[in-house]
Symmetry: C2
Subunit: 468 residues, 2 copies
């Protein structure tokens, strides 16, 4: 209650001041330091190794590199799932996709013919922050249900500009075979709609300019809302295949078209950070950059790289679910490399904590408030990561160790191998998961098995949204 | 001749000023900007992926990371050979080891019973810089011949402090089997001598304190020579197995003992850079950090990581010969990520150019002056890299492409596979060498074959120093 009173006081104070300009924004921060802005910049299928500062030799990412050296580079940061729809559901709700019905073996993600989506009673970061007066926008790819009741506007976003699902969907009959249409794409091969709120404004979306347009929309939103706290979810549709980039980025990178695409995303990050600075918001805005899952390796040179990690998109080896993550907040974060274990599901409770939003206690959250790590005041509370492939736990990380109970190739094989005894890797010593140490640590295996059993017992059956 | 006159004038000027202090050093720089100091910090068996800024998730290297963000991170920087002795011969002479007799199939490096070494008529960076008045020191591992005529003092170094060959040599009968003695080492298992100039001052060298002692010796040399130009070759004996680190670094890294060792090396780099700053020398000193070859993968967790590159020490895949390289020179370098192709053999001609030393024209050099890249004034002159395994070219890189003519596992197999047609990779697009594109570029293959033929024709037979 005390917190709410302070917020009311601050809002009253702002209104009575008739605040309009940048200087007064700083006054607003002083009056109300409890409402920072939040920006999540999410790449699509970008690998752990696709950023300069994460080790790529030929992709130039000066903006991401600077963002990391000014802020925090997170090297043990995970997503909730190794594919798009469940990963995004986990990020926005702070809950494992298995709790929201947003994962399935049969259809791993939502498709244009799907009838399901993120249930209306699920709370997203946007709907949580709206309760305390945030302006909210989703710019980019949604992929949590394209029917109106599942769309961004139904989930706490004031504004939506983007595509409703993946950029390789809605393939037309104009195209050659699927692989050819992806590797040598034209926008008209994929009649994906571009939407503004509930309206289709362009179809097919001109994907060659889409990264640029998302960026300009994001900057417009930042400017329009500089006088009030905001949450911007900028979910780029690149570098998911088919790859497109603006003319200015064509053949710019040594890494080919994939590198061009990443370099345009890097440009976009630079523009966002520049806009924050120009609008006097950089000291009051936490920016998080990450990706929704690992690189789509089957597309070879047009897919990304997981760096020294094994595997990629779709699988539960590290490359599928560990993401190149950078956090930035001028003057607030303790700069450096952070090796604590965290996940995208931690963003909801962290933002709620920073914005003093009390989350409803009628549901289970799988995220933790990581703000002590942001400010260097304490340890990360997270100990365990569950590696779900669709509705099943394939692996568990606790501290240094990861146990694989089931393994399966990312794509191209339906065969799952039950690992009994489980494979065990020390991820801090052996991040590439090369040297199975199960023989040496039977107690760790036993502990992992208990964790798995307990976790499974806590999962309730819910309606499967992806098979509707 | 003009240059030499300028140098003479500068020296005369200094002498007549009777210069002693730091302030006067700055005056000296103004008088003689043509004599910067040079420091090479060479790691032993450190992999491309073992530095934070090159992508390692759990090794903390804040000093190397900062060195790179202030200076240049080179992502396409190679060594002359994938094992120790020939790599170091290439670095110090600017010539391929096949020209100096410093490579061999039978004995890939020098051993304590070897009778050969770097021939007396070879010129090293040290002997070249001595001709123009540099103070020179070799601190660390030499491995270019331990007999007096081949030792550092015979090759232009005023001062030597270090071990004459690898730290796993001179194994005693005290030890258990070789693998066990390496993985659970004690200093007394390896009676490697520690030398000061031609004198053995400790045997076995206490390797637990060796990184620290090399560092203190290096700082002492810097301080002692702050009034004159100097060249310091700081060739750490770590992280070559057996791994040792100071007590302060025990269990410090999440990456285990290997991480501890790298974090101590990172500390060492930080101390060197701090010393330069404290002595007013940072704006007049080019510091190059690199490694002698890729990670020794057979030692699993006690070997390093080549990051996203394939292969490791001993082989001609990228991981064997591409090194994490950083250059630093406060206020002089154009900061950023450099993707130009260069090698350790380029250091001799570059240093010579910067110090206005005219190299003798009685021999073939395999290095190029890369100073235009350092200062951002021009392109790197190098187009071709030869990947030698011992005395044979196994692969060639020209520009984007690398052709493998022969492949062979790094260690553990004597079987070399002749690749006919050669394998071809576009290293900028596919740095992990996963997707052979030979079929698509027959002209590139044909060009590579011509380059190989021409190169081979230019190699003269010389006495093999490693089989003596």
């Amino acid at each position: 209650m005390r917190i709410l009173n302070t917020q009311m006081l601050a809002i009253t104070g702002l209104l009575s001041l008739g605040i309009t300009g940048v200087r007064n924004i700083h006054a607003a921060e002083k009056l109300n330091p409890s409402k920072p802005n939040f920006i999540i910049i999410l790449a699509d299928d970008m690998g752990y190794g696709d950023v300069g500062i994460f080790g790529h030799p030929t992709i130039k990412t000066p903006n991401l590199d600077r963002m990391a050296s000014e802020g925090q580079k997170w090297t043990n940061f995970y997503v909730a799932a190794p594919v798009c729809t469940p990963s995004r559901a986990g990020l926005l709700t702070g809950r494992l996709p298995v709790r929201t019905g947003m994962c399935s073996e049969k259809r791993r993600v939502l498709f244009p013919d799907s009838k399901g989506g993120l249930p209306e009673n699920e709370m997203t970061i946007a709907s949580a922050l709206k309760t305390t007066g945030y302006a909210t926008a989703c710019i980019g790819k949604w992929h949590l249900g394209h029917l109106p009741q599942y769309a961004p506007n139904a989930h706490g976003f004031d504004y939506y500009f983007g595509i409703p699902y993946s950029n390789d969907m809605d393939a037309t009959s104009l195209k050659p075979n699927r692989l050819e249409s992806i590797l040598n794409p034209r926008p008209e091969y994929f009649i994906v709609p571009l939407m503004r709120n509930s309206e289709i404004i362009e179809r097919p979306a001109d994907q060659t300019t889409i990264t640029k347009r998302y960026t300009l929309e994001a900057i417009k939103f930042i400017k329009q809302n500089k006088q009030m706290p905001f949450f911007l979810y900028l979910a780029h549709s690149m570098p998911h295949v088919p790859l497109f980039r603006s003319r200015e980025f064509e053949n710019k990178s040594l890494r080919g078209v994939y590198g061009d695409v990443i370099e345009e995303l890097d440009w976009s990050v630079g523009e966002i950070l520049k806009s924050l600075k120009e609008n006097g918001l950089d000291e009051n805005t936490l920016v998080v950059f990450t990706s929704d899952n690992g690189p789509w390796l089957v597309f070879q040179d047009q897919g990304g790289s997981a760096g020294l990690l094994s595997g990629g998109k779709g699988g539960t080896w590290e490359g599928g679910m560990r993401e190149p993550t950078i956090m930035h907040w001028t003057g607030k974060l303790k700069p450096g490399v952070v090796m604590d274990i965290a996940t995208t599901m931690d963003l909801l409770p962290t933002f709620a904590s920073l914005a003093h939003v009390i989350l409803p206690n009628d549901r289970i959250y799988d995220g933790y408030d990581i703000s002590p790590v942001l400010f260097g005041t304490g340890k990360d509370p997270r100990e365990v990561v569950y590696y779900y492939r669709d509705t099943q736990v394939y692996a568990i990380r606790k501290g240094d160790y990861k146990a694989h109970f089931i393994t399966q190739p990312e794509y191209g094989s339906e065969i799952a191998t039950i690992q009994d005894p489980p494979l065990l890797f020390n991820l801090n010593i052996d991040p590439s998961e090369k040297h199975n140490v199960a023989d040496q640590f039977p107690k760790v295996i036993a502990e992992m098995e208990k964790i798995l059993e307990k976790h499974r017992a806590g999962i309730m059956t819910v309606e499967n949204q992806l098979e509707k």
